[in-house]
Assembly symmetry: C2
Homo-oligomer: 341 residues x 2
């Protein structure tokens, strides 16, 4: 397994060490948490972000809860851990991985008997390791498809910072780079600038040169012929392959098609919501107008407002490939997606 | 003529009052200049920006030079004014309007005899008034084409702040608003944020509600059906209608075509460079990577770089209409553009 230079989450043996992503790239600072309340805060304050990373952090939060309460009361500790799990579930509203990880930990908690602390830690570390392994698998599968690309453009941050390690879309870029030279471009990803703050930092930490562009320059970059693939992650994928991802992904998809550039979506199968037949069923979260508006317009009677959707939905017809840890679907549709079930 | 609420440049009788656009929208501050050196600085430091506004400011700078030197030396003042004109020509490298305005003032200077100060002021005020009149004419012509649009998206700032008053693309939006309700959207226009800092301020000053979006959200906005027209200005138009404008315009053009949204370019005929047959001949200025990159990457050995073109070129085939003060060209091409010569 490739050495992980960038690690958002590290288990120290009796605590969780969390890289504070809010301060990147100016400051590299870690916080160490030894109880579930601390992990809750780390998630709620967005020190840790990215759906897989949030789920893994919560799993370790359950371990820390068990460590503390088992030692204090070996007979009644399970109730207190259950309370902490309910608290951890409140840390962020929408990340499905958070709830999946807590459900897995709940099962482990119920089944553990003789050495419950060992069993719970093994479960959390298993969730973490499975995520890293899935990312490596996706990286290799994605790199197999890419072939001899000259240039790749990515959007938002889908790397080690957002996952247990290696990354989804950024994992594919890492795997491609291990095989060949390729020019990597990152969109700055307004309004939160995950590309400018996180993706270029993470790539440079790994020794991979990267060129930052304004999101609005992507079309002109494609016109120049510099890129062959756009590679992005996913927040949610419908049963027909329609993909919700960071705002701006849909624009890149339309622009890519116009310029005969291919679009790859990289996400674990846990991202697929089989209960939603198409992207029309995906609700799009709107964020605060304040993220875009200068401070003088933050008044109720302002004539200036902002429209600030967090995500958009890219129709499957604009996607060349969806890469998961279970395999690749080329030209996704309701029929071809069935191969991943 | 419509009252101009926002005025980047105002002649006070013996000085030029300049709105400091660098401080908008937080601070509304004016600087008053009574000599050509001051006007040179106002342009060079980007207190005033926008090609037409720069040309007008320079014309008033020549008037201020004449006022000063004529009173000091009624026999030898012309040489000193010529020196100031050479200085004003150095204030910004590429704005064609700057050189056009200075050439007009030079002719006026050579022809003026009995009351040279009156003649020079009349010439500068004529340049200013002609620009405002051209903008009003374009506003009405553009509004005639728009018909009953529900929503309009604009990019960068092409308003009163960038011109003598009223604006080009923003002038069309003003004219449409005088006839009917229409939802106005503005892209924030990275990296300089002219949309977020200038366009929404200017529209709100005029009492026009406006909704700001991240540039990357334009495609998703178009998909929602909220807009019928994208309306932009131009920095340079080739003889076949290919149009150089602020980076991101080409992306909007491709996205508009995909969503059956129409694209209007609004610019005076002085923007057309008949010597350039197509957009291939337009050189694109690259700006400093520092405009995009976090400070920690401003080192020569950084693995992180930026690609930061200021403009892009939109092929005429993606433009529905070019609106000038001399008339409108629908579906511009080398043939149809000839009607504007």
């Amino acid at each position: 397994m490739t050495k992980l230079t960038v690690q958002a989450l590290q288990w120290t043996g009796d605590a969780l060490k969390v890289l504070d992503q809010r301060q990147l790239p100016e400051t590299i600072a870690y916080d160490v948490y030894d109880d579930a309340a601390g992990v809750h805060d780390a998630i709620a304050t967005m020190r840790v972000r990215g759906a897989p990373a949030i789920g893994i952090a919560a799993a370790y939060g359950v371990v820390l809860s068990a460590y503390r309460h088992y030692r204090a009361s070996p007979t009644q500790w399970r109730e207190k851990v259950a309370t902490d799990m309910a608290m951890l579930a409140q840390s962020r509203p929408t990340a499905v991985n958070l709830f999946t990880a807590l459900a897995t930990m709940k099962t482990a908690l119920e089944q553990a008997d003789e050495q419950p602390l060992v069993a719970l830690l093994a479960c959390a570390q298993g969730i973490h390791a499975d995520d890293v392994a899935a990312n490596h698998r996706m990286g290799e599968l994605g790199a197999d498809i890419i072939g001899h690309a000259q240039g790749i453009l990515t959007h938002c941050n889908t790397g080690a910072l957002a996952t247990g390690g290696y990354g989804t879309a950024l994992g594919v870029i890492r795997s491609v780079r291990q095989r060949q030279d390729v020019a990597v471009f990152a969109g700055e990803t307004r309004p939160w600038l995950q590309g400018a703050r996180l993706t270029v930092w993470e790539l440079s930490q790994e020794g991979i040169p990267v060129t930052l562009i304004a999101d609005s320059a992507a079309a002109w970059l494609m016109k120049s012929g510099a890129i062959d693939w756009v590679i992005v992650g996913a927040d949610r994928i419908a049963a027909n392959g329609d993909t919700a991802n960071k705002i701006g992904t849909y624009a890149l998809a339309v622009l890519a098609r116009h310029h005969q550039v291919k679009l790859m979506v990289v996400a674990p199968t846990t991202t697929i919501d089989w209960s939603i037949p198409s992207g029309d069923g995906i609700e799009i979260e709107q964020r605060h107008a304040q993220e875009l508006l200068p401070a003088c317009y933050h008044t109720p009677d302002s004539l200036v407002s902002a429209w600030n959707p967090v995500f958009d939905v890219t129709p499957a017809a604009l996607i060349s490939a969806i890469v998961t840890e279970r395999g690749v679907v080329m030209m996704p549709s309701a029929e071809t997606m069935e191969n991943l079930r």
